[in-house]
Assembly symmetry: D2
Amino acid sequence: MNRSDSQDTANLRSFYPFCIPITTRWMDNDVYGHVNNVIYYAWMDTIVNQWLLENELLKSAKNPLVGLVVHSQCNYFSPIAYPQAVVAGLKVVQVGKTSVHYDIGIFQGEKEHPSAQGKFVHVYVEPVSLRPHALSEAFKHALETLR
Amino acid sequence: MNRSDSQDTANLRSFYPFCIPITTRWMDNDVYGHVNNVIYYAWMDTIVNQWLLENELLKSAKNPLVGLVVHSQCNYFSPIAYPQAVVAGLKVVQVGKTSVHYDIGIFQGEKEHPSAQGKFVHVYVEPVSLRPHALSEAFKHALETLR
Amino acid sequence: MNRSDSQDTANLRSFYPFCIPITTRWMDNDVYGHVNNVIYYAWMDTIVNQWLLENELLKSAKNPLVGLVVHSQCNYFSPIAYPQAVVAGLKVVQVGKTSVHYDIGIFQGEKEHPSAQGKFVHVYVEPVSLRPHALSEAFKHALETLR
Amino acid sequence: MNRSDSQDTANLRSFYPFCIPITTRWMDNDVYGHVNNVIYYAWMDTIVNQWLLENELLKSAKNPLVGLVVHSQCNYFSPIAYPQAVVAGLKVVQVGKTSVHYDIGIFQGEKEHPSAQGKFVHVYVEPVSLRPHALSEAFKHALETLR
C-alpha cells in the first residue's frame, strides 16, 4: 500500500481537474450488498478513456498509438452501494517518455473525501508491433491540462 | 420474437412512466466497438430494482417477498456505444397473482425510438421456502402507478 | 414466455451437440447469493462465439460477415451459485437466409435438467454497410452439424 | 509499481500452492480484442474466495468475521484473449493481526511465466460494527497452508 492508504490523507475532490458522474448497477452489488471491489476498476477504466475520447486522444490522428494498461491499483476506504450515484475524478500525476500515470478518486454523492483512490498506468505502443513508442508533443501537451 | 421485434413498432419513450439515466462504461463495449448484448440486461435489471427500491418494495416491510427472475428477453434494434448516455424506461404490463411482467425500453440520448426493448418477469416467493406467494394488495397498488 | 418455460419440458443435456464448461466468478453472485440473471447471457454469448471460433466462422475467410444479436431470451428454472461449475450446451434450431437461431441450455454440474434455457438470434450483415447479407453455403453447411 | 513489475522477475506458477482453472468469456474482450484489465480483478476476487470457501473460512463457524478488500493491485505483462483458458494461482504473503495479504498469478494455458501478477488485501471486521477484529488462531493456522 502507498501513502494514499488512508481516507484522511487521500486526495479530496478538488484535487481532480476532470470529473464525471457514474451510475451504479444492481449487479455491481455483491453478496454483502456493496459494490464489488472489481467494479471500481471499471469506473477507473471508464474515466481515463472518456477523457482521452473527449480530447480526441484515443486511437486518433492526434494519438495513433495504443495505450496498454501495465499497472492499476486501488485503496478502498468506505463502501458504496447501488443505487448510490458516484463521481470519478481524474488527474495526471506523471508523464514518462512512453507512459502516463493517472490518479483517480471515487466519490460517493457530494462527499469531499473519496470512497476509494486508485492509480492507473498506460504504456503507449505501436499498434502492430506493440513496442513502446515515445508520446507525441501534442499528446503530452494535452496531458498537461490534466495535472 | 414477439411483436416488438421492429424499431418501428416498438414503444416510444413516452410509453414509459419511469425513466432513469444510465452511464455506459468502457468495458461495456465489445470487440465490435458497441455495447455488448449482455449489458442491456444489466440495465434492465437496474431499472426494475431501482423503481422497487425507490418505492420501498425491495425486501422490505412493504414487500417481504423476494422476486425471482423467471424470464427475460430483449430485441435489439440499433447499436449503442460507450461513451453514449442511455435512458432506460420501465412500465408494468401485466400483474399476476404471484408475478409481475415489466416492459423496458433502452433509449440512446434524446431519441424517441428505442435502441432496444426488453421484457422482464419476476415471480415472488417466500424468502426461505422459495415457494411462490401471492402479492400483497399494497404491492399491487404500487404497481398500478407503473402501468 | 414460450413452451420451454418449465424445467420439466425444457431440453435435456443430450439435446445439445456442443457443450462447454464454464467457471463461475465470485462477483457473478448478487445480493441473494445466486448468480445474477444477467450473467447467463454472458455464458450464452460465450458458447455461441466459441463454437463459431472453433469452426473458423467468426469474422474469417470462411465467414466475412458480422453477426449482430437481434434477439435473446432466457427462462430461468433453478438458481446457480458461485463456485458451482456450469456446462452450457448449444444447438442450432433455425437457419434463415440471413439469420441463425440458437437454443442454449445452462446445466449445473452433472444434471440432465437445465437450470436455464435460452434463445439467441444472430442476423448477419456486411461489416461496413451493416445491411443483412445472405449466409454463404459453407457457413450454412457448418451450421448443419449443430442441428 | 513494485518489484514484480516485470514478467522476468515475477513469480512462476510453482510459487503458488493453490491454483484453479478459469474460463474466459466473450464479453471479457474489449475493443482491442484482449481481456479488459478490469476482468483480472474478477479472477483474483474469485480465487481468494474459492480458497476461503473450500476451507470453510468464508462467513462460517470457522471464521465469523467478514473480509473487506482494502487494497488490490495488478501488474500486467502480456495480454490474454478469450477463448484462451486461464489458471490463477494464490499464495498468502503476509498475515497481520486483522489482515491477510495475498499474491495472485494469472497464467495463460500451460505457461510458467505469468501474464499478470496481483496483490489483494483483506481486513477482517465484525459483521455489524465493521470494526477490525483479530483473526482467530484457527483461521491463521489455515492460512499457513497457503504460504
